[in-house]
Amino acid sequence: MTLTLDSHIPDGPLEDKWDNYKFDLKLVAPNNRRKFEVIVVGTGLAGAAAAATLGEMGYNVKVFTYHDSPRRAHSIAAQGGINSAKNYRNDGDSVFRLFYDTIKGGDYRSREANVYRLAQVSLNIIDQCAAQGVPFAREYGGLLDNRSFGGAQVARTFYARGQTGQQLLLGAYQALARQIHLGTVTLHNRTEMLDVVVKDGRAVGITTRDLLTGELEAHSGHAVMLCTGGYGNVYYLSTNAMACNATAIWRAHRKGAAFANPCYTQIHPTCIPPADETQSKLTLMSESLRNDGRIWVPTGHEDERRAVDIPEDERDYYLERKYPSFGNLVPRDVASRNAKTVVDEGRGVGPLHNGVFLDFADAIQRHGRDTIEERYGNLFDMYERITGENPYQTPMRIYPATHYTMGGLWVDYNLQTSIPGLFALGECNFSDHGANRLGASALMQGLSDGYFVGPSTVAGYLANWLGTDAVPTDDKAFTESLDQTGGRVDQLMSVNGTSSVDHYHRELGKIVWDYCGMSRNAAGLQKALTEIPALREQFWADVRVPGRADGVNQSLENALRVADFMELAELKVRDALHREESCGGHFREESQTEEGEAKRDDENFSYVAAWEWGGEDIQRDAVLNKEPLEFERVELTQRSYK
C-alpha cells in the first residue's frame, strides 16, 4: 500500500497562504478546549512552547520528558543565536529574504510554503521571547543587538551571549511552569515514550515507561504532538546530548508515519576532535570562531611537530587556497568536507591526527589579545578545560561532528504526520530546512512550530472530534501497545549476552559515520547495508542489559534507544543510497562538479523521499513515496563559493 501524501499547501499567493489558511482552519471555542486532551512529548523549544501555548488556550495538556525537569532538553545547548527577519539593522533584510536564504541554504529541497511561513512567524518569535524576559544582547540605547551569523549577508541573528538556546528554552520552560502551576498542563517527568497508540488509523495516545519504577503506562489523548528532536546520536559520537534518541519518531514510523529524507544530516565543522576511545560525546565550538581563526594543516603527512614549529611555507591554509572569496567562512558542509579530505590524506593534526588547526595567532597579532579575549574568551576557556591546551598560545584543533538532522517525520502544512492526530514539531519533523540548515535557524523553527504553528493547526484537527471522549486506555489498541512494548523490554532483558549496549552503539556509530557521514558513495553505502543488519542481529543475540526492569536502569533505557537506532540507521543508509545526487548535507561522491563541489540533480531528485514502514527487513520492505517539490517563487541555482 502506498500512502497518499497530501501536503495540504493552501492556494493563493505565497505571502497570503498562512493568513488565509488560519482563517480557513476550524476553530475550537474557548469553552470547549478543556474537553480535549492533548499529549505533548518532549520539552525542548518546540515541546515546551507548544505545551505552554496549548495550556494557555485552555486545552488539557499532558507533557512528557525523560529528564527530571523540562528545562534540561537539549535545545538548551544551542549557542549561536536565532534568526528573525526584523530588519532592525536596515540592511535590506525582509521576510522574503529570510525565506529565500533558507530555501537556497537548504539546497532547494524544502517546501516553499512551509519555509515562507517560518520566515513570517520569525517576527513574532522575537517579540514573544523578549516579552518573556529572555535577556537578549542589547545595545547601549536599550534596543536589541544583532549579528551576522553563518556567512549571512544581513545581520538578523539575535543572541544571548553564547547561550541563546538556553535562554530561549528557559523562556519556554517558564511559560510551561506557569501552566503547570495553574493546572492546565500535567508534567510527567522521568517518563519516556516508547510507542504511539493508533486506533482506526489515527493516533489516540502513547505508551510510556516510568523511568523510576519501570512501569509501562498508557496515556490517551485526542491528539499527540511529538517534539522529540533529531536522531544525530545514530552516529554515537555527536554534539547531541547522551540521551537524545529517535525512539519516539521511529516507533511512530513503525506505526505508519512516513519518515522523510533520513539521509539529510548536518555535520558541523567546528567541534573538538575525540581525544581517545573513552570519548562519549563531542563538544561544539561556536561557528563564530571561523570569523577570526584561520584553518590549516601541515603540507607534510603525519607531521608530529608542534604547530609553532611548523614554518609558514609548510602550512596549507586549504580553505583560503581553494575558496579565495569566502575563505574560512565557506558554508558548514563545504568546510566539513574539506576537513575530512585533508585528514583522510593523512595530514590531520593532534596526537591522533584527527583534526585541523584553527589558528588565532594572526588575529591576536592584528587585534591584540584583549580583543580576542573579549570576543571568544569563554570559548577559549571551555576549549582549555576540555583539551588542556591554551588556544592563545597554540592553535585549536577542530574536526566536524554530527550536529543536526534535517530529515524526520514527514509532515504536511499542518505539521501533521501521515497518521491523523499525530503531529511532529521542531527538529523531529523534516519540514523547513531541506537538505541543509542555516546557522541560527534551528531555534527559530522549534519556536515557530511550538508557539505559533502547532497550536493553530492542531485545533483544526481537534475540531473534528468535539463531543467525543479520548479513547479509554483499556481499549484494545492500548493493551496491544503495552503488550508489545512490554515484550520488547522483556526480550532485551532476557538476551543476557556478553556485550554492553554502549559497545553496540559505538559499533553502529562507526559504520554510519564511515559510510554515511560527510561524504557517501554507492559502494560504501551498500557495505553499510550489509553491516548494519548483521550488527542488529548480533545486538539482539548478544547484548546484555544488567540490572532489573522494574526500577531505575539506565542501561535498559539506552538499550531501547539503541535498538531503534539500529533500524533507523538502515533506513538512513537506504535513503542515502537511493538519492543519487549531492545536495546540502548529503554529498554523493558520484555527483560532483569538476571542482569537486556538490552537484544537484533537480530533474530526478527534486522531491521529498517519504519512506513508509513495510516490515522488519527495511532494505527490502521500506516503501518509497515521493512528494514532488514545486518552486513557484525561487529559481533553482547551483551554489558556488569560489
Partner: protein, 259 residues
C-alpha cells in the same frame, strides 16, 4: 600527549530512596584527557564486565549547560575546578594514584533516587511558583518597544546563566537554595518586562523555596561551587525584594500567591 592515571574511587552506592547506602571502592585506569563522567563510564564498563550493576548517575549534554550532572567530589560540589560542571571537569585535574570520594548531593529537598542520582523537582516547584513573566503567546508587543538598559540586560543574563544543577544547595552548609532562587528571580526582577509581577514573584518564590530548603547564612560556598559563577550579590537583591514585596505588594486581602 595524554597520560594514564590509576585511581582509586570510593563511590556512594544506594539501591533506592529508603535503603541504606555505603561507599564502594573501585580502581580504574583512565587517560587524563577523559572527562570525569567518562571516567565513571569506564568504571561502569568494568562493573559490566565483572557482572555487576553499573553506577547510576544523572547526566545528559556533557557540555556544562543542561545541569543534569553533579556529584560531590572529595567534598566539593562539581569537584575542584572553579566554574566547571562535573561533565566539563577533566581528569588532568587529578593525579596518579589519587583516591577520589564521590557522593551524591545531600539535602532534604534533594532525596536520593539511586546511587548518585537525586530528585531535584523542588527547583521546578520554585520556578512554577512565580519564576516567569506572564505573557500569553501572541500577546507580545514589538521586541524593541521596551528598551532595556544594557547593564540591566547584562546583569539579568548573569543571573539567567543558572543551569539548575543544584550545586549551590549541595555546597551550602545549610542546604539553602537561595542562590538558585535569587538567580531565577533576579533574572526577571531586573528587567522592565518583569516589573508588573515583581513583588508577587519575590514573595511567592521565597516562600516556596523555604518549603524545601534551609536558610542562607552568607558563607558564600554556593558562589564558589556554581559552575556558572553566579554571584551572591543576587541573594542580597532577593532579600531586599522580599522585604519590599511585603511592604508594597498590593495584592488584595485574602488573595494568596501567584496563580
Amino acid at each position: 600527549m595524554s597520560k594514564v592515571l590509576e585511581l582509586t574511587l570510593e563511590v556512594w552506592r544506594q539501591d533506592g530512596p529508603g535503603t541504606k547506602g555505603a561507599f564502594e571502592t573501585y580502581t580504574v585506569e583512565i587517560p587524563d584527557d577523559a572527562s570525569f563522567l567518562e571516567m565513571l563510564d569506564k568504571v561502569n564498563e568494568n562493573l559490566f564486565q565483572a557482572g555487576q550493576e553499573p553506577i547510576t548517575f544523572d547526566h545528559d549534554c556533557r557540555e556544562g549547560i543542561c545541569g543534569s550532572c553533579g556529584v560531590m567530589i572529595d567534598g566539593q560540589a562539581h569537584g575542584p575546578q572553579k566554574g566547571t560542571a562535573t561533565c566539563q571537569l577533566h581528569m588532568r585535574q587529578f593525579s596518579d594514584g589519587q583516591t577520589i570520594r564521590v557522593e551524591p548531593w545531600r539535602a532534604a529537598g534533594f532525596p536520593i533516587i539511586k546511587d548518585l542520582m537525586v530528585n531535584r523537582a523542588a527547583f521546578d516547584r520554585i520556578v512554577e511558583s512565580g519564576g516567569y513573566i506572564t505573557v500569553t503567546t501572541g500577546a507580545a508587543p514589538d521586541a524593541n518597544e521596551i528598551p532595556v538598559p544594557k547593564d540591566a540586560a547584562d546583569s539579568a543574563m548573569d543571573a539567567a546563566a543558572c543551569i539548575g544543577c543544584g550545586a549551590c544547595v549541595a555546597a551550602c552548609p545549610n542546604s539553602a537554595a537561595n542562590l538558585f532562587t535569587a538567580a531565577k528571580m533576579q533574572h526577571l526582577n531586573q528587567l522592565p518586562q518583569g516589573q508588573a509581577e515583581r513583588w508577587r514573584r519575590s514573595e511567592s518564590m521565597v516562600e516556596t523555596m523555604e518549603e524545601f530548603f534551609g536558610s542562607c547564612t552568607n558563607h558564600g560556598e554556593c558562589q564558589e561551587a556554581c559552575p556558572k559563577e553566579i554571584t551572591i550579590d543576587f541573594i542580597a537583591m532577593m532579600n531586599r525584594d522580599y522585604l519590599r514585596s511585603k511592604l508594597v505588594n498590593r495584592r488584595r486581602l485574602g488573595e494568596r500567591k501567584i496563580g
